[in-house]
Symmetry: C2
Subunit: 500 residues, 2 copies
């Protein structure tokens, strides 16, 4: 894409006036984006010394600073390195109606990591997929993503770097990476170009900005941003979906199709499995000891373990989690109970609150209820339209794939009980003073929708039992059996991952 760009040398004489007009428009559009609850992400990538920082400063100069956040993306720090690579971008997602403006993005992150030998060619390619997936997930959720690459010629870059270095005030701004970037201009040119092509999608197309001339560059950025927001607002007001007109041929992006393993329907599960007290006591000791040892290895080898618990109300999730947790060194895990989302969570992509709850590598993160609420309670309770919820099967598989690529063992349990057993447990809770807080009207209401839930669970298990993150349906009428099965499954999955 880069070779077709011509650097405009002529200065626009009427630029100042036009820019002022566009600025006023931008302020109004920012308000319109707020009113329409459109979250906007603007990324500014480009060559070292291409003027990314100063273009951002010009872009936002008259916007309301309460509604944007500018972040400079640098080499990931020690804390960021202990999370999936996209984690730091997820973490910064703007709320609906707000702007996130990035000086450098996942694009530069990926090209640099490859060029500096920090990631292999295979990892580089995987990251390209991750980027396309990430941007598609956001676009599908209504995020407007506007991506810029500021292009300058080699001569221009060298001149600018020389000028920066020659002044006491600015020389600290030039670092080793800038010099390497410039010394290897043609190698970077090739890699930038390829990466631009590979991430030029219909839902997040690139805007290549000739940036030898700062005024025309500013003009071009401002124009693109205003047009995109205007069109996105218009589309939203008309209930339609918005896509920017791409400047270059887009790639034919197709979401990855994940192979799933054979699963059973809940109806097909043998619910009579049980253990005697003696078997239970023996096996509990055995698997808790084993798990403790495995945790030690995971900690040392920095392998993250993600355990997701779903199941019927009163299925016994709490007690099950307790037996897993009490096997572990408490400094190495955290249990995340998932309740109804808070306002700041509702204002972002639904996966945001799970991304931001991930513990460091080497640690266990245990979710008590999970991202699967998206395809169960949300459509059934009409919190999310069925069509939007249906998109989550793919999104969730992608999410779990990215966790797996990070190195995580992803283990998912559906704790299953039958309808009679649930009734018995509800009644017992009602009749036991110490347990009454555990049973609410909502539990009874959910119970009335048993069949709807069962259909949703069957579908979820079928569609999201990927090879890397299969569901384990746990026969839960007997709590002892269920606990041992969960412990055993966790040990087995970790051993597979460790190759022992």
């Amino acid at each position: 894409m880069l070779e077709t760009i011509e650097q405009t040398k002529t200065k626009k004489t009427d630029a100042a006036e036009e820019l002022n007009a566009m600025r006023d428009e931008l302020i109004n559009l920012a308000n319109a984006a707020k009113a329409n609850k459109i979250p906007v992400i603007i990324t500014i990538d480009g060559w070292s010394a291409a003027g990314k920082g100063s273009q951002i400063a010009k872009l936002i100069k008259f916007m309301d600073p309460r509604f944007y956040n500018v972040e400079a993306i640098r080499t990931p720090n020690v804390v960021e390195l202990r999370k999936p690579w996209l984690h730091r971008y997820w973490q910064k997602l703007p709320k609906q109606g707000e702007f996130l403006i990035l000086d450098g993005s996942w694009f530069r992150d990926t090209v640099n990591a490859y060029m500096y030998g920090e990631i292999s060619k295979t990892e580089y390619k995987k990251r390209i997929d991750d980027i396309n997936t990430f941007e598609r997930q956001l676009a599908d959720d209504g995020y407007l993503i506007i991506k810029f690459f500021l292009h300058i010629t080699k001569d221009e870059q060298q001149e600018r770097l020389k000028k920066l270095v020659s002044s006491e005030i600015t020389k600290w701004r030039v670092d080793d990476h800038d010099i390497i970037n410039s010394d290897n201009y043609s190698a970077f040119f090739k890699k930038y170009d390829k990466t631009l092509c590979r991430t030029n999608t219909s839902y997040a197309p690139w805007h290549i900005v000739p940036a030898n001339n700062k005024v025309t560059a500013q003009f071009s950025i401002m124009m693109t941003v205003t047009n995109a927001i205007k069109a996105a607002c218009a589309a939203k007001e008309n209930g339609g979906k918005f896509e920017e007109k791409p400047e270059f041929p887009v790639i034919d992006y197709k979401p990855e199709k994940f192979k799933t393993v054979k699963t059973r329907k809940l109806k097909e599960i043998d619910m009579d499995k049980s253990l005697t007290e003696e078997e239970y006591a023996r096996k509990l000791d055995k698997y808790q000891e084993k798990l403790f040892k495995l945790q030690n290895i995971c900690y040392q080898r920095k392998i993250p373990v993600i355990i997701a618990y779903e199941g019927w109300d009163a299925g016994g999730k709490g007690g099950n989690i307790k037996r897993v947790a009490s096997a572990l060194d408490p400094r190495g895990y955290e249990v995340k109970p998932i309740a109804a989302p808070e306002p700041s969570e509702l204002a972002r992509h639904y996966l945001w609150r799970f991304w931001t709850r991930l513990e460091n590598d080497g640690h266990f993160t245990i979710f008590d209820r999970t991202w699967y609420g998206r395809v169960m309670v949300e459509p059934i309770e009409k919190i999310t339209p069925q069509e939007r919820a249906d998109m989550a099967y793919q999104e969730i598989n992608e999410f779990e794939k990215q966790l797996t690529d990070w190195g995580a063992v992803v283990i998912k349990f559906w704790i299953n009980i039958d309808k009679e057993e649930q009734y018995r447990r509800f009644k017992e809770r009602e009749n036991t003073p110490a347990k009454q807080w555990k049973i609410t009207d909502e539990d009874w209401r959910n119970r009335e929708k048993w069949d709807e839930y069962e259909t949703a669970v069957d579908r979820m298990v079928k569609l999201t039992s990927t090879e890397f993150a299969p569901w384990t349906i746990v026969e839960g009428n007997d709590k002892k059996y269920a606990r041992i099965k969960a412990l055993k499954t966790i040990c087995k999955r970790i051993e597979e991952r460790l190759g022992i």
Copy 2:
């Protein structure tokens, strides 16, 4: 305190049974703490190899893992070092009804930093004050803080370390610090002892646990925790305040008294100040340029700048902030609009949401509305009882002192307009379609309480205009004048800090 501790050598024969009974009790008490919305912090400090980790594991073994979080406190990482030293503890504060259990705490953090020469004697002393203040603020807010120090003798420590090192499986758990701790047992003994004495307060007394014998240590920890929670719940149910019975004489802790500077009442402010368009344009350029340069220096010298905006509705905070923000490199600041707290924020100390919003050192954090809501809107709207809100003057001064100690320049603006000007602006907003979203019924309701607010503001300005974080009342009837005054004040305060 340490020299009076005798290590019990006798093993309790009936320990197992008693421990089981206590465990059951602990589970019930954890539920009671949840029901009573008491947040609990348990810190386990002590010698290297004193068994902190395994004691924690035993303590929580049967608790519900959804309601506790165990954190191991290590040497602060690069990200933590860019925040005030207590930031990482604030960040981890448990919600009401939840448990935070720390393996190592601000106590060890402080002793180690001093012993390893990372902080000076003066800084060490300042940290002792910070600890006592921090714990008092939490205790005043209803947090139950239970602090343990696990004490082992020199011989016992050396034996344990030797054993750990001799096994392939455990030797990685012994690090340089452990060896240094042991090699310098008597020096650490002295420093531990002094620090224990200096942080032994009535609201957060120490429990010294003789830990040569692991069973009696466990017994003692369990007993202390159950007793403390039981008493705290009883006190809460009776509407009283709870304090643990101290085992050692407590220090006579008195909150620091801060000198305040002379201030004026709002009534005494000359509201006729204004600037012509020409003066405004000239000064805006001048001070924005100056501020940009100062930001550059702050960034390089890692000086944080905290700017707090308060003021009457329609006072012009937004436009004022915009002029400050647009002077700055956007990668170096963030504006934090403060709205009504979310559930997760309401469930913690009210300062939590401000601590967790602090940007890194070298950055500007601009708050649009602040922690001062505590002494204005909260008591006036009966969200917080007046007596509790009144405690905030001291708490806020302490907070701002800690920010100043961190190195921050703390600048606070009250944007003042008179009642007629507010009426004019409200009406203008109502009559301008593009501004209608800015005016709500709540604004009119607040206006009716003008006098109450004025009294609260006068009091707030008087009581929290400390020498290190004085209020600047900005005459805001003329927006131009107000903007220049804010910019000028920011520049002046930063220059003072830089000594230029």
